[in-house]
Symmetry: D2
Subunit: 410 residues, 4 copies
Amino acid sequence: MSKASGIKKVVLAYSGGLDTSVILRWLQEHYGCEVVTFTADLGQGEELEPARRKAESLGVKEIFVEDLRETFVKDYVFPMFRANTVYEGQYLLGTSIARPLISKRQIEIAEAVGADAVAHGATGKGNDQVRFELSYYALKPDVKVIAPWREWDLTSRTKLLDFAEKNQIPVTKDKRGEAPFSVDANLLHSSSEGKILEDPSLPPDEIVFQRTISPEAAPDKATEITIDFKHGDPVAINGEALSPATLLARLNELGKANGIGRLDIVENRFVGMKSRGIYETPGGTILLQAHRSMESITLDREAAHLKDSIMPRYAELIYNGLWFSPERHMLQALIDSSQQHVNGRVRLKLYKGNVICVGRESPDSLYDARVVTFEDDEGAYNQVDAQGFIRLNALRLRLGANKGRRGGTP
Amino acid sequence: MSKASGIKKVVLAYSGGLDTSVILRWLQEHYGCEVVTFTADLGQGEELEPARRKAESLGVKEIFVEDLRETFVKDYVFPMFRANTVYEGQYLLGTSIARPLISKRQIEIAEAVGADAVAHGATGKGNDQVRFELSYYALKPDVKVIAPWREWDLTSRTKLLDFAEKNQIPVTKDKRGEAPFSVDANLLHSSSEGKILEDPSLPPDEIVFQRTISPEAAPDKATEITIDFKHGDPVAINGEALSPATLLARLNELGKANGIGRLDIVENRFVGMKSRGIYETPGGTILLQAHRSMESITLDREAAHLKDSIMPRYAELIYNGLWFSPERHMLQALIDSSQQHVNGRVRLKLYKGNVICVGRESPDSLYDARVVTFEDDEGAYNQVDAQGFIRLNALRLRLGANKGRRGGTP
Amino acid sequence: MSKASGIKKVVLAYSGGLDTSVILRWLQEHYGCEVVTFTADLGQGEELEPARRKAESLGVKEIFVEDLRETFVKDYVFPMFRANTVYEGQYLLGTSIARPLISKRQIEIAEAVGADAVAHGATGKGNDQVRFELSYYALKPDVKVIAPWREWDLTSRTKLLDFAEKNQIPVTKDKRGEAPFSVDANLLHSSSEGKILEDPSLPPDEIVFQRTISPEAAPDKATEITIDFKHGDPVAINGEALSPATLLARLNELGKANGIGRLDIVENRFVGMKSRGIYETPGGTILLQAHRSMESITLDREAAHLKDSIMPRYAELIYNGLWFSPERHMLQALIDSSQQHVNGRVRLKLYKGNVICVGRESPDSLYDARVVTFEDDEGAYNQVDAQGFIRLNALRLRLGANKGRRGGTP
Amino acid sequence: MSKASGIKKVVLAYSGGLDTSVILRWLQEHYGCEVVTFTADLGQGEELEPARRKAESLGVKEIFVEDLRETFVKDYVFPMFRANTVYEGQYLLGTSIARPLISKRQIEIAEAVGADAVAHGATGKGNDQVRFELSYYALKPDVKVIAPWREWDLTSRTKLLDFAEKNQIPVTKDKRGEAPFSVDANLLHSSSEGKILEDPSLPPDEIVFQRTISPEAAPDKATEITIDFKHGDPVAINGEALSPATLLARLNELGKANGIGRLDIVENRFVGMKSRGIYETPGGTILLQAHRSMESITLDREAAHLKDSIMPRYAELIYNGLWFSPERHMLQALIDSSQQHVNGRVRLKLYKGNVICVGRESPDSLYDARVVTFEDDEGAYNQVDAQGFIRLNALRLRLGANKGRRGGTP
């Protein structure tokens, strides 16, 4: 295979864990090629230096370790939240939104080091393989893609451990036994799935949760905060200006402490099956509510409705791995063009899993108490106008009813 | 006016309260016509007999008092919930969905008693006038519509009370002073708006809430329930089969007791301005989560996504008062055609404002643990297929990138 | 392979031509299985009996030859035309709509004869393989699918002819040389693509066209016809009631004679590349214009706009082979629910490629001359209503402009 | 009225014709205010100087006469054509797209001359009043709008002529009798409606047409042209670079000479009724076909489909007069972001009403003959990939069919 494939140098998305370490060695052996590792800090909450040392110990010469947290939040998470993006009504896309950035840096590194291939550690049943590879191809159409989990014969835990042992890959004790479920994490969320979580008729065990305490365990007293927005993005908490990643981290702490952001759903994968996932998105859950509340007073009605109408498609394509696609860029242009005046402050109460808006104000508010008031509006709104408005909106219905289509039957 | 208008008999949507009593008398005087009253129980939580007696005391000869709760829930609320309908991301449309039914019965009564006009007590700034009148016109295109609040000169509280006094309309003491906000209620929700609620930078006072206790006041221990669905509609709670209205009432109790279903939003009215509303939809909030969870294992992915994509439009037209319109009927046909297999049981935990799905099962489940499993799937899914799937999905992106459009730039 | 595959009996979509005859023999040899042939008349304009004799000569014992023209037009073509369906603004989907029916009968035959597999003659680059196979799987999820063009090594014309010769498959002289382009045909259209048509900067040669004469060659005098509709489907031409297939055949003649229905486009395939196709849809082109004209006076505005807004998605999924999918059924429910009153008569002028509506009338017409007239309308429409209509529609724009968003800037 | 209204100076959209001259005088009399006239050349094909002289003769002191043709085509027509915009499947929006520009200049003039009001000559039943006034309000929210046709009592032709006579407004002989239909024209199109055209069961008389000869009268020989595009806009005809208005004028000549661009439809007005219009859009009809053909080789599939899916909404809002709205700006951002690579040359054959694309080429073409070819593609496309692609796309359908939902029933 190695000769036939013609692959000389591959950039591997490398976590430093057992699985990608086995992949690293397998690539060296199976493809007989040089492996370059790329390890990114996207806020998953793990030290990166051990990954560097492990890569060195496995003979890797070119090792890239990068802190991408600010880029991740600024250029991926925040743009997505501008659309109040939710997949299938509930999922905040924490995993989906991280893959394009990893892929992008991987490809940039491949071009910098002259690699002809890239590899990832995603399995053959999931969405992540799609997200990685669609991004790779969109960014470097001639790249060769290696997806070991779809190719090799290490199809059981035992074989994997055997391979690790034979290749002097250290296996920590807690990795000997199989993990009871699989985890992905970054600054936006953590997800857990598989194994003990595969039966959707049963709730997840409390041990599954890593980013949040339970609503029951949260304080009996609410925490109140403010979030300031500029052009649709959050810029400050409680009046303190914060960088994107710092701000999201702060929201994560607040969410965690108040039992906010847990989600247990069955979702539809792009590859065709349903899967069950447990997600924790503490900061994102707060941010979604805050952004929507900010928009509620600053966005025009039809601007808001247009955004709502295209959101499911936008969410779907991010979920499917099409961040780097013409249609995502086009929808982003539409979304971003609406955020100029999404400025102001939202006040929120965080309480045992609840995120409750308790106030919003903005210099760009379109809410006009003078017009809406039950009191005398001094002519701001002429109630007589409503009659004409209604009568013309009703005209087509009346013409239909006159022709026997009572009650708006088509 | 009375002579010129030519109106002889009008059916008034009559609550028995001060405002519609004043309208009743004003119609008799101003239009010199006979007034027929129609008072419906939609679960607003008020006795109807006082309304009958008050109408009698005002000289009304034809009085209609009807309990429409089952019809309301079965033919209006449940069909709407089949679409997981939410207006502007948050509002469950509790007021909007009640208006078409009231209008429909009003028109049926008008035809039964030979009335040539109908009247309602909605103001000239709100959405309800639109909802009532679009329904009227769709059902009886030649009907004459009287909207006293847009016509008369009783434009202040003082004038209204003066008119009441002059006309021997009894004013209870608590109605002397002006209500601090305006309320609408039915079995699905209660809404409060206006006056003291007009500043969206301030939270509502606790006295505003009528249908729910606060999350803080709710029990420290979660309540667990099951809801059974058949063809997309809930049919039983904790295994006990219940009629639509009884079921919703039961959910309301459960929601109320657990601090569920409060909402404080700024929304966009069809008549063009933003308004601030406080809504309480305890049972509906539970039902929305339950229905979505039921669909998550029983609906095909594209069926679910298609529903999601048309939902904002469906919600918008219900909000706008277009229940009796061709487009609503058409969308309903699409929605209903998807619910055949939405059958099964959802288990929910209710806790201090949270509605958490902790299990779903169905004889029609499309979730297939055998396919999705991390374990050996015995050939149910061939991982090699993923490569072709990804490569063809990537083809257009690669062709674009080859022509200088890296990263999916359009 | 044959043993390993375990396939015992396969139903082949068999045209009787060289390619599917080679496939037939190859299946017998390669899979060692029994082959059942299915040959359908969908109006492609070829005799079916030669296919039967050829199948017999190749040792086939179970031969199915069926005239499906009426079913094709009634249950596939007409439902699709109810939506004014056009792919990418131009293509009338003549090939796409035939595949589901062929697949359906093939699967029904497979179940009737106890076959465990089906096979088709579509290539590995086109859409048809997708359309066939998605339909197969949707109808019989455990079916085995054989796509010889993706499997075998007969990858050149020479190898194919060699195989034919070795296997006593008669090759007519005109098939010795390679066809200069590939053709698919049925009662709705014929398509031509490939080889000499592969350069989209060049127009097709006149010899490509089989179903139409050129506009230039068409008569100098227009032909006028009427088409009558009932519930959205055409039922009569020039007052003569006709069965669906007979009606479409008649329209084809009329279109052909008047140079109507040629199309030369570059389209986007589901499998990811662009391709160039020459289509002739004489009757369909007339029908599209006729149906739209009929709807123009009988459909409510919002019903029509809703149909228009979902049409691109409906077209896309038919193009992609998803006729037998939940989303198509759901959209069909929406579409069909709108056609109840699409009744009446359309008058058309056919002239050298043009289809011009010169009159439409209907007992269900919503066009009301009394309302629209420039003359005195006797109160049918109150012009004063327009002011209120405009002012309330403008309200949000004015509120925005007041806050510095002049000209509707978001 | 004049005093009460408080209007001091009004800018009138003035054509110089009888109707707007009567309006001019009526404004002076009825409102007692100063009238400023604004006459624009949008390519309607009339001299403007007579309008100036007429205004002078009516005592107008501030007269604005402007040639807006280049602005009209560049900033309104071309942006709209980037979306392949068609209302209700057929109408190219020639009238709709002119109104925003007139309104914009009118408001700019109002601000320049210190006018507090604007007036137009559109009737109370049509769309144009809406288009003018929504634009006015969006650009100057406090402007006063005068719509004489909705206000005055000159409700018959006789009264209008009497008023003209009494006020020394010259009435040319041909205006004494009433025009048999109403006409609007600009560089994009001319429209005719009303009176003798009000019966949609009858074809229009040939005298109605002003911008085109009939297909029958067009030459027997086709005209072939090329159109070059840059970033989605046409920039040259037959290789000759032309300014926007010059280019459109040239296309109009070409279209006219070849009987192209006639349309006879019944459309749905925003104000609620159906109306019948005869449109002539010779150049626009050519441009639409050319632009679509250019996109067919230069746009990514999903970019094209996304544009197609939002187009009906975009068309609707232009038709409804919402050019100056947040939602139009947002959709325009999406559309414009797709046009960067819509560059190249389209070859068209114009023949007796037909616009036939006979070639398209582009340096940015995504059509890749190497991939699509029936011949050996040297590995550009791996046919084996199709199997995985199909199988994963089919997975959800198979899972559904396994649960009794054969044939994709929802």
